[in-house]
């Protein structure tokens, strides 16, 4: 095992939150600054994020190949050490109060559409599902798997929804590209909700320089949600 791999293994073992290669590099540099006389620290401080990323990838496949009790996975915010899935029945005994909270079928259906077609409006979601999604959206927002991603540049400026980093974590996904079948589903032509549009948008409605979406802070967005 290379010195880099050993240090990364130690860092991830000790860390209680996921770490990106950039963060690892930051710690490698920090160690050198703290101990400039330490030859190993100086040597490791030269590592670039891409070298760290590939070392992490190798480490992950080593754990996998050796059938260790833990794994290294990349999800959302970065890399983290987790227990092996086949050890779950026993590890679960450690946390009896920590019941896995699963999403309902209707929540999953709605979430799937958001995940593949974000950013998407509520009306377009309803057009795909054929049912009202108000209650489900509230649940998904509260669970932290979706967020308001802005406003659509169409009449009425409806809110747009997208998935959060926690979504990736909840499903142990590296990125949205890792969603099964994503190439096909993202291309799907969606039925679009009937809108009174196709009338030209009044220029008054548009803030100068705003194209596409406009950011809404999550906290503000939740208030908007509750107001509705």
């Amino acid at each position: 095992m290379t010195p880099l791999s050993r240090v990364l293994e130690a860092l991830l073992f000790a860390s209680d939150k996921p770490m990106s290669p950039a963060e690892c590099v930051k710690h490698l540099k920090g160690a050198m600054e703290a101990a400039p006389e330490n030859g190993d620290a100086v040597a490791l401080a030269k590592c670039r994020p891409d070298e760290v990323a590939s070392a992490l990838g190798e480490l992950a496949s080593v754990y996998e190949a050796e059938q260790r009790g833990f794994r290294l996975i990349e999800s959302g915010a970065g890399w983290k050490v987790v227990t092996a899935p086949d050890a779950a029945p026993w590890v679960r005994q450690l946390f009896p109060e920590n019941r896995p909270s699963r999403l309902s079928p209707s929540a999953l259906e709605t979430l799937a559409i958001v995940a593949y077609r974000q950013p998407i409006t509520r009306a377009d979601l309803e057009a795909v599902r054929g049912v009202n999604v108000d209650g489900v959206m509230q649940t998904l927002l509260e669970r932290g798997v979706i967020r308001i991603a802005g406003r659509a540049d169409v009449p009425g400026r409806p809110l747009l929804y997208g998935t959060t980093e926690f979504f990736l974590e909840h499903f142990a996904l590296r990125s949205l590209d890792e969603l099964p079948n994503c190439a096909e589903l993202r291309r799907v032509e969606l039925p679009v909700a009937a809108r009174p549009e196709d009338q030209p948008v009044l220029p008054l409605d548009q803030a100068p320089g705003s194209h596409g979406t406009e950011a809404v802070s999550p906290s503000e967005a939740v208030l908007v949600e509750e107001a509705i």
Binding site: D16, A88, A115, G130, R143, A172, L179, N181, E189, P191
Partner: protein, 266 residues
């Protein structure tokens, strides 16, 4: 309708499209070859069945029924008698719009199944510190921040305590409490250095109107950034802390939206 296969509860279907998919699958026909007359009949029979067992049928199921009948009526007419098309692209096959919708829906339903498997798998991975149970939106908050829901829950606990104390005999609430009075009170009792527990703020308060006024005062102080609310992890104690400034400017107090005494029963 005697077919036992129909005796599935309506609420197992996520919506009219889900029900249609089920009917198509049951007949083992390709979605592209939907026989509109047959599926419309089955669909209506299904709704009738539900009505007879007193299941409330959602409006969207009725809308779909109307849509199916409309499509059926169009297919029955010879092309030259079909009248002007309502929407562009509808001229080829009136079933097309529905078929397309069903196919899209089917794809996402399958995608939801994939997510379910994925969720199942992810639940088997335990991190160094297991992630907090995602029950209340806490997931989007940074550690130490208090979610609106946490605050409301804590406030409801205080209210529940008061209701319990009240007992059977109802007192006439003569006292009136104003939010600005309570702002001064909160600032007075909030220690300079260490924090105060949320529940302690309401110590000794016995009426609903007083608790409500105090809570509004707290919200106002948070908004004006005089008080900081934090929580030690999920389900932890909610702590109130001062943010330096001790004096609320006069105009801020005067501009309070709820300066008048809150109605105790609101």
């Amino acid at each position: 309708m005697a077919d036992a296969a129909y005796k599935v509860k309506l609420d197992v279907f996520e919506g009219p499209l889900d029900l249609l998919l089920y009917l198509v699958r049951k007949d083992e026909v390709d979605i592209y070859d939907i026989e509109i007359g047959r599926i419309t009949r089955q669909y209506l029979e299904y709704l009738g069945e539900m009505e007879s067992v007193d299941v409330e049928i959602g409006g969207e199921f009725i809308v779909m029924a109307a849509n199916l009948l409309y499509i059926k009526s169009r297919t029955l007419l010879p092309v030259d008698l079909q009248g002007p098309v309502e929407e562009e692209g509808e001229d080829e096959d009136p079933r097309w719009e529905l078929i397309r919708q069903l196919i899209e829906y089917k794809k996402f339903k399958e995608a939801a199944g994939n997510l379910r498997d994925r969720e199942e798998f992810a639940a088997k991975l335990f991190g160094r510190t297991p992630s907090a149970p995602a029950v209340d939106g806490g997931a989007t908050l940074l550690a130490g921040e208090v979610g609106t829901l946490d605050l409301i829950a804590a406030f409801q606990r205080v209210l529940a305590r008061i209701e319990k104390q009240k007992g059977a005999a109802r007192e006439i609430e003569a006292d009136r409490f104003t939010v600005s009075e309570k702002i001064e009170y909160v600032l007075k009792i909030l220690p300079e250095k260490e924090g105060l527990k949320f529940e302690e703020l309401f110590a000794g308060q016995t009426t609903r109107s007083e608790v409500v006024a105090t809570f509004l005062a707290l919200l106002e102080l948070v908004r004006l950034r005089h008080v900081h609310v934090e929580q030690e992890g999920p389900f932890g104690e909610i702590m109130l802390r001062r943010r330096g400034l001790a004096v609320v400017p006069e105009q801020d107090l005067a501009n309070l939206p709820g300066s008048a005494a809150p109605d105790g029963n609101r």
